[in-house]
Symmetry: C2
Subunit: 185 residues, 2 copies
Amino acid sequence: MSPPTPVPLDKAYLLLNHGPVTLVSSAAGGRRNVMAASWAMPLDFAPPKVAVVIDKNTLTRELVEASGEFVVNIPSRALAQTVLAAGSSSGRDVDKFAALGIETAAAAEVGAPLLSGCLGWLECRVITEPENQRRYDLFIAEVVAASADPAVFSDGRWHFADDLQRTIHYRAGGHFFATGESFEA
Amino acid sequence: MSPPTPVPLDKAYLLLNHGPVTLVSSAAGGRRNVMAASWAMPLDFAPPKVAVVIDKNTLTRELVEASGEFVVNIPSRALAQTVLAAGSSSGRDVDKFAALGIETAAAAEVGAPLLSGCLGWLECRVITEPENQRRYDLFIAEVVAASADPAVFSDGRWHFADDLQRTIHYRAGGHFFATGESFEA
């Protein structure tokens, strides 16, 4: 893995535009957590915003509400088992970083960590919308920094080569799709 | 193409969970339209809900606000040029159905049409949230009926065979990813 390289904010939506599964990392008050999230999408180009569903019953929800921050990490196929495991246990019961062997690096703008081995990172600051959060578990956030592994994303473009270093899309029941062939219409 | 087969509402989210590009169809007052939307995601399981971004300046926005309904159509790779063309012109300037040769069928529960040749259809009724619509162009809707082409989706599962009859994911600038290999973590 190459070290994260900054992605200009006006290109940040391109990391998420094709609908990959994500890992949401968070930290507050000396605690941190990671959860799997398929329900994450871009919401605006500039300033870039995202919408992410974070269930009421999760530790992530508690940490995101306390800190007002999170990171949307975009995992590779090599991390599919980690995505599944992160989505199948609660940070209230287990330290997922230790249990799953997830290494981290410091983010540029937020307290939540960047998950090593991921392919892209969107550092997000929550735009508080209490009714969306309460009624729909829906969080809207501004992307305040973005970065990517330059081996697979540069100049605003994904360029996958290795099959294990591609983004993935979650189906259900432990099944995923790999991001497939690129083509021009 | 096989005729749309009903999908049980509790399985409807599976049509959209992997993040494919969509076509949003709408109708009101004798007018109808279709737009491309990458920014669409499930928001809840049961009753199923979706979140979709619909720009203020579009005819679709006008028709969706007038009718309170739309359909999220999930196109195949065979329709990639149609997706691109639908996203590059305005229904105020051209009848996209005629110009792009899009055929339609009647939906079960809403006035907006189902687009023929698509692989899945989510019929949606807007849950009015004026502030989300105004601030973020964000529409929340309940899925009131769903259907799919049984050749590629049945028993709550996508099973693609033909490369042109797969879902697709939008990148930018006319470039897409095909939905790739399925795998179990």
